[in-house]
């Protein structure tokens, strides 16, 4: 009998996660999905994959592209929990941080819904986050509150993550009547919370830190790009300093961020980005921007690069949570791709149009 190899818990976790990673769609599968004649054919194809269970569950509740979108999002949520159970302490924090980026969208939905006076059902209809950072039950309770003030009070009472940021944002909102104040407060709080969590847990070496830094850089670059474009429109310019996210490497200080905002065009703005990786990406998209007058391509390129970089770095790190981070990011890409194909099928778009929008294929 062959003696069992003594492997560490982390190595075991990485092996288990890698087995799931092997089930990610390959190029042939994507080609089949793209060549599906209709949404129904796409649904049938997906039913022969790992998404079968979630698809049959969601087909009962909704239909069409929405059912597919909800089902694959549900699968992503399940996979977060699958990965999380292998880790404790420091490693678990990384997944919590990763989940936080999605959970915070649900928290924003609650706040935005209360601001718009939407119903409970309308608010919770599109909850997406895995719930590792902010528990789903807490979000449901917040969605049940009558007003924005009640949400703030309940968030503080429940002591959910970012409760103080919500409170601070709500105070600013009361003065300026701009909901973006609450959101900015949440975005800033998320990144400082994430950095603090990782540094406390001695997670500095994991890819999650560089991923967070990259995301901050991308958000700062896109904020400035939008600001430069918005200058074409009449009206009072926004207080740019409030939109600055600290912790990035491209604009390490507010002063550099504000200096780049003085650019009069996107071409000029590109010269303010000194980090070679991002400078190259921005430069490569200038021609596309000048033709289409849209920042979508730049946004997509930057975000895809950040995610693909994190996946490439993470999947090699079997002795920490990197493999799980890489897997979950790759799965998120797959979810986005399937959603994109489903919507495109519903919208009767040609496969060649969709193909160039797919991420990581």
């Amino acid at each position: 009998m062959t003696p069992r190899k003594n492997i560490s818990t982390l190595e075991y976790a990485s092996a288990r996660v890698r087995s799931h990673r092997a089930r990610l769609f390959d190029e042939k599968m994507y080609a089949d999905l793209l060549n599906a004649d209709s949404l129904r054919a796409l649904h049938e194809l997906l039913e022969s994959t790992k998404y079968r269970a979630v698809l049959s569950k969601h087909s009962l509740q909704t239909s069409g592209a929405r059912a597919i979108g909800d089902a694959v999002a549900d699968y992503l949520r399940e996979e977060y929990f699958f990965c999380q159970r292998f880790y404790t302490d420091a490693q678990a924090v990384s997944l919590e941080v990763l989940s936080g980026a999605l959970d915070i969208v649900d928290l924003k939905t609650v706040i935005r819904g209360k601001y718009a006076g939407s119903s409970y059902d309308d608010i919770i209809a599109t909850f997406f986050g895995p719930g590792l950072c902010i528990e789903r039950s807490a979000l449901l309770l917040l969605a049940k509150q009558e007003s924005l003030e009640d949400v703030v009070r309940m968030a503080v009472t429940l002591d959910i993550p970012f409760a103080l940021a919500v409170k601070l944002g709500a105070e600013r909102f009361a003065i300026s009547n701009a909901l973006s104040e609450v959101e900015l407060s949440l975005d800033q709080a998320y990144f400082s919370w994430a950095f603090e969590k990782c540094s406390h847990q001695a997670e500095r070496k994991t890819p999650i830190i560089s991923y967070l830094q990259d995301r901050i850089d991308v958000q700062n670059i896109m904020t400035l790009a939008r600001f430069v474009v918005a200058q074409k429109f009449a009206g009072e310019p926004p207080a740019l300093a409030t939109y600055y996210l600290a912790g990035g490497t491209v604009f390490p200080t507010l002063k550099k961020f504000e200096k780049a905002a003085q650019a009069l065009s996107i071409d000029e703005f590109a010269t303010f980005i000194k980090a070679p990786r991002f400078a190259h990406l921005v430069q490569s998209q200038l021609a596309e921007y000048n033709v289409s007058d849209s920042l979508a391509s730049l946004d997509r390129t930057l975000n895809v690069d950040v995610v693909m970089h994190a996946i490439t770095v993470g999947k090699r790190e079997i002795e920490n949570v990197g493999v799980s981070v890489a897997y979950l990011l790759a799965l998120e890409n797959e979810v986005k791709n399937i959603r994109l194909i489903a919507h495109a099928k519903a919208f009767k778009l040609h496969a060649s149009v969709i193909r160039k929008e797919l991420v990581g294929v």
Binding site: A73, V105, T109, A116, E183, Q219, F233, A234
Partner: protein, 213 residues
């Protein structure tokens, strides 16, 4: 038919009425022609705006589907809640050939920039932003189209009204007045002939009386 007194005064009054009705009809015809010119111009503008509106809505719908597909319904739905709000319209107006035409001004001015749309641009993708921009542009187009269509409807209604008036004058009122004039003229002529005949009779009688005496 109304009762007519076949008097000379009535004849003069009727002739005056015919004159007024004819000049009124001519004025209404000029108004109708001017309104038709205005109508043709507004038709062109409205058609252009209708094409523009269809195009803007199709683009917005495409951007919305794309954002939904790429960023997920959660992100789009969430951003939509944050940027929801009321669009106030200020409706004033002016007159074209006596027709009240509306002028619609919206507040806040649409489309807005990503910095004053309600959500924070740091947490929303450009695709969601462009979908919002597309629909705000569509709202702006709807306002312009509504203004042009109302103008078109009102000018069209006024043309119909003017046409009916011209026809009423041309086909009913003026012929009616003319027939009344003819009736009075015939009656007056008849009376004149009777008077002449009577006078001749009297003259003959007087002459016969003189001859007998």
């Amino acid at each position: 038919m109304e009762e007519i007194r076949p008097t000379h005064a009535q004849l003069l009054a009727l002739r005056e009425q015919i004159k007024v009705a004819t000049s009124g009809r001519d004025l209404l015809k000029s108004k109708r022609d001017a309104l038709l010119l205005e109508f043709m111009e507004v038709v062109d503008t409205t058609l252009d705006l209708s094409v523009e509106l269809s195009k803007t809505l199709a683009e917005a719908q495409y951007q919305f589907e794309f954002a939904n597909a790429f960023d997920g319904e959660a992100a789009v739905h969430s951003a939509a809640l944050a940027s929801s709000g009321e669009v106030f319209v200020d409706i004033s107006g002016y007159r074209v050939m006596g027709v009240a035409v509306p002028v619609i001004k919206q507040s806040p001015r649409l489309p807005r920039t990503s910095f004053n749309r309600g959500y924070s641009p740091t947490g929303v993708s450009v695709r969601v932003d462009e979908a919002a921009y597309g629909f705000e542009k569509a709202i702006s187009s709807i306002m312009k189209y509504a203004e042009a269509e109302t103008r078109l409807r009102r000018v069209g209604a006024e043309i119909n009204k003017t046409n009916r008036r011209v026809n009423a004058l041309d086909e009913i009122r003026i012929p009616q007045l003319k027939s009344q004039v003819r009736f009075i003229e015939q009656t007056l002529d008849e009376r004149q002939r009777e008077e002449l005949f009577r006078l001749k009779k009297v003259k003959k009688k007087i002459a016969r009386g003189h001859a007998n005496s």
